[in-house]
Symmetry: C2
Subunit: 213 residues, 2 copies
DNA sequence: CACTCCATGTTACCGCTAGTAACATATGCT
DNA sequence: AGCATATGTTACTAGCGGTAACATGGAGTG
């Protein structure tokens, strides 16, 4: 088997794959997470079976699409997390980076959060990476950073992972709600969330007359 | 117009509606969130159009179903939140109650978290309350409790709502991950999450030699 | 009793979706 | 040339949410 042939064709296939992904991206950006395979194929100027040959099934296409955006977002977040500043500033920068990303492209964001829900095909579905790959990846990533950088004593791995997923979930839920209602500026949201992580809930006083909290 | 007849019929309709909801519950418990209207109708011993007459569309049925479970869960959480103990103990009890609930019925829980994703019908879909009603309700509820009970100074409403949604998101994401991987006991998870809310992330020291966090 | 009203129930259909089989065509390697 | 490989098509299946049209059975009224 000659290598040249394989390489040539594979390059062509990869290029095509990238073009298809970009078309899919445009459609998702326009139509949201419910974008159909037909619509994506039409945007790419082709028909459905080609998409299926490249990506297997809808889940495959969505996974490939999600990976691109997730990688990009993760890169931004890592930059914020690695900035030369103290811990509080870095946490705030990371929160702000995430919120800015979902604010800039809400459609993509909605797609990333609910990628595997678009079908009636539940049995026979490979339940491996199904629910919210972006959140899981972010959680694991943050867990790793935490465990690398702070001293959590014994059980540090477990603690770091719980915190990683917990913080990511906090960021996500607050961001989702904020994106829908826009109750305050991004900077303010960041500050309030950082206050929460800094233990202000434990520190503030009970309201007078109430049952306490 | 006679009142007796109307009441009679309405009672009958309500009884029927409850039966249908219980059948739907069984199916969702068995088949997960992707349960089809056909399956639910079959379980109830009838056919689709009756479901549609009672609930309008799939979203209506799912909303009614979700409301039942959400109300039940909210009642448990409120009880934990109102227990006579100090703030930390109450927060831990609330976290534990939530985690115990999702641990006991993972199928129902998955359904509650992703109720409105089961169809191809995105245009024509009333995008009102679509994404994750349970999380939103929990967030708002917690926000209200927080604002009632602790003294947050000016902007207390905004702060309380951000915290409410943030904490609920933290609980949800950590619970989701924990339910999938079971990396530790429930009690341990609760303790680690409460530590996070109590500001331990801000308090712990950098690891020696690292870039700091 | 006949007559209307209303809810319950059915069958049969629509338009849409994800996914596939069968067939046609070009391009490049041997 | 011949062969493999990737690209492309049309035409189809099975299942979904949702609806129209029609049938039935009991409550209240002349």
């Amino acid at each position: 088997m000659d290598t040249t042939q394989r390489t040539e064709q594979q390059r062509s296939a990869d290029r095509r794959r990238r073009e298809l992904l970009e078309a899919a991206d445009r459609v998702v950006l326009r139509d949201g997470p419910g974008a159909s395979m037909n619509a994506i194929a039409a945007e790419a100027g082709i028909t459905k079976p080609i998409l299926y040959r490249h990506f297997g099934d809808k889940g495959g296409l969505y996974a490939a699409l999600a990976k691109r955006h997730t990688d990009a977002l993760l890169a931004s977040l890592r930059a914020a997390l690695d900035a030369p500043a103290d811990r509080r500033e870095r946490v705030e920068a990371t929160l702000d980076t995430y919120l800015a990303a979902i604010e800039a492209r809400p459609q993509v964001y909605r797609f990333l959060m609910h990628p595997a829900e678009g079908g009636q095909n539940d049995q026979g579905f490979d339940v491996g990476v199904h629910s919210a790959p972006l959140l899981r990846r972010l959680g694991e990533e943050l867990a790793q950073v935490i465990e690398e950088r702070v001293d959590l004593g014994p059980d540090s791995e477990r603690v770091a992972r719980v915190w990683g997923h917990g913080i990511v979930g906090m960021m996500h839920a607050a961001g989702d709600w904020w994106l829908g209602e826009r109750p305050c500026s991004r900077a303010e949201l960041v500050r309030i969330l950082a206050d929460l992580l800094w233990g202000r809930l434990a520190a503030v006083a009970d309201k007078l007359g109430g049952p306490g909290f």
